[in-house]
């Protein structure tokens, strides 16, 4: 493992799950739970002749940011595309449950300022969704996490971090959007159906999966920011993600929860109005949507550096603030 100082200046996109986990929390505070020495391997993969991993592709543990305990879930895209299987899924849900239990303890002990002492969960997504080799268990893990995210409401802030190579696709696309806040780098991607699958089902004319610029225009960090699915777009370093998390953890919970995309009738109505807009606008490309939201040079947006983008880009107006 690189020294912590080196980690925070490293590329988030290129970092392994374990490097992200260590770098996101304060130096030397990450304590891996269910780590490789516990040998929590998938029992299903060997049957299929597929390589296994001692952590089943997800690094879980707890560290600190300032005074607050921060639980970390960090998916490893290099291992079977970060796909969620039974063991990795169980490790993840366990983290949610531990965070909730710790919250209740703290709330009891410090009823006045529980919200600034309570644990948070940061979830660094790098996944194509469910692991097809153990799909039932993987899907179940998706459902459990959705439910646990709801249980965390008002108690434990859950923050999604998306900026790794594989992006965040499949059912995990839903999971990430259901959290309180989504933080991305422009290299991050969120989507449901992966580009290759869209091309396979709908043809190259509908979606050319070899056109990476197109993929980024439709799923990348800048697009998700304009659409307000992502609330904070940061530089591609572990340190930049960490700084954003720190800022968020210093916010009162009431402010934090304003970044949610779903979770109330109003928010659902807002999402539905976007579906209606798509039907009216009939966009041929994301640039049409960007133009609709007031960007007069949408073609120039992909090439903008982060600072310029944050200064100039016009984002969708949110009905619910």
């Amino acid at each position: 493992m690189k020294a912590w100082e080196e980690l925070i200046s490293s590329s988030f996109y290129e970092a392994t799950a374990r490097q992200r986990a260590h770098g996101l929390v304060d130096a030397g505070t990450f304590n891996e739970l269910g780590g490789p020495n516990k040998r929590l391997k998938s029992p299903h993969l060997p049957e299929l002749g597929e390589a296994v991993s001692f952590d089943d592709g997800v690094v879980t543990g707890v560290g600190r940011i300032g005074a607050r305990p921060v639980f970390v879930i960090s998916q490893e895209g290099r291992f079977i595309g970060g796909a969620v299987g039974e063991v990795g899924g169980a490790k993840t849900t366990a983290i949610f449950q531990m965070a909730l239990r710790l919250h209740d303890k703290i709330a009891k002990k410090y009823p006045e300022d529980a919200s600034l002492r309570a644990p948070a969960i940061i979830y660094s997504f790098e996944t194509g969704g469910v692991r097809l080799h153990e799909a039932n268990a993987g899907l179940l893990a998706h459902a459990e996490q959705m439910e646990l995210i709801q249980e965390c409401r008002g108690k434990v802030p859950v923050i999604s971090l998306i900026g790794s190579k594989v992006g965040c696709f499949g059912g995990m696309g839903f999971v990430s959007i259901s959290t309180d806040v989504v933080v991305m780098s422009e290299l991050g991607r969120i989507g449901l159906t992966g580009p290759e699958v869209i091309e396979q089902e709908m043809g190259k004319k509908e979606f050319d999966s070899s056109d990476r610029a197109l993929i980024y225009r439709t799923t990348g960090g800048k697009h998700k920011t304009i659409m307000r699915d992502c609330s904070f777009l940061v530089d591609d370093t572990i340190g930049a993600f960490r700084d954003q998390v720190k800022t968020l953890l210093n916010m009162p919970y009431e402010q934090l929860k304003k970044y949610r995309s779903i979770g109330s009738l109003k928010l659902v109505q807002e999402q539905l109005s976007l579906v209606a807009l798509a039907a009216v606008l009939q966009p041929k490309d994301s640039t049409d949507v960007w133009a609709h939201f007031g960007n007069d040079n949408p073609e120039g947006i992909p090439d903008m550096e982060l600072e310029e983008f944050c200064r100039k880009a016009k984002l969708r107006h949110r009905e619910v603030e």
Binding site: M1, N31, G35, P46, A51, F54
Partner: protein, 108 residues
């Protein structure tokens, strides 16, 4: 279609050393890559266990591991590897990195 498992013992050289921590881990089981877990043991011999989807290279695995153990003068340790199609160069590199990590690292 089960995974292929390779196990062997390597007798250590005179004056061998174990790792300074209870266990150390390195690498990711990506395509063409592997992870290894080294753990302190009571016996002097190095117990090696490899799990890989590829069969037919047992002799090369053993050569790479024996060379590493001899050069590092390693003993009193077990080495467990989860592999996914690593080349011998990758294996040798991860082993060296894992040892460096173990020597530098302080774990719980």
């Amino acid at each position: 279609m089960a995974l292929h498992e390779i196990s062997f013992l390597i007798e250590p050289q005179e004056g061998y050393e174990s790792i300074p921590v209870d266990w150390a881990h390195n690498g990711v089981v990506g395509s063409g890559d592997m992870e290894l877990l080294m753990q302190k043991t009571d016996s002097a011999a190095v117990q090696v266990n490899i799990v890989t989807p590829v069969a037919g290279y047992d002799a090369i695995w053993e050569k790479v591991l024996r060379k590493f153990v001899a050069e590092a003068r390693l003993g009193g340790v077990s080495i467990e590897i989860n592999d996914n199609n690593s080349t011998p160069y990758v294996v040798a590199t991860r082993l060296k990195q894992g040892l460096l990590e173990a020597k530098a690292g302080e774990r719980e």
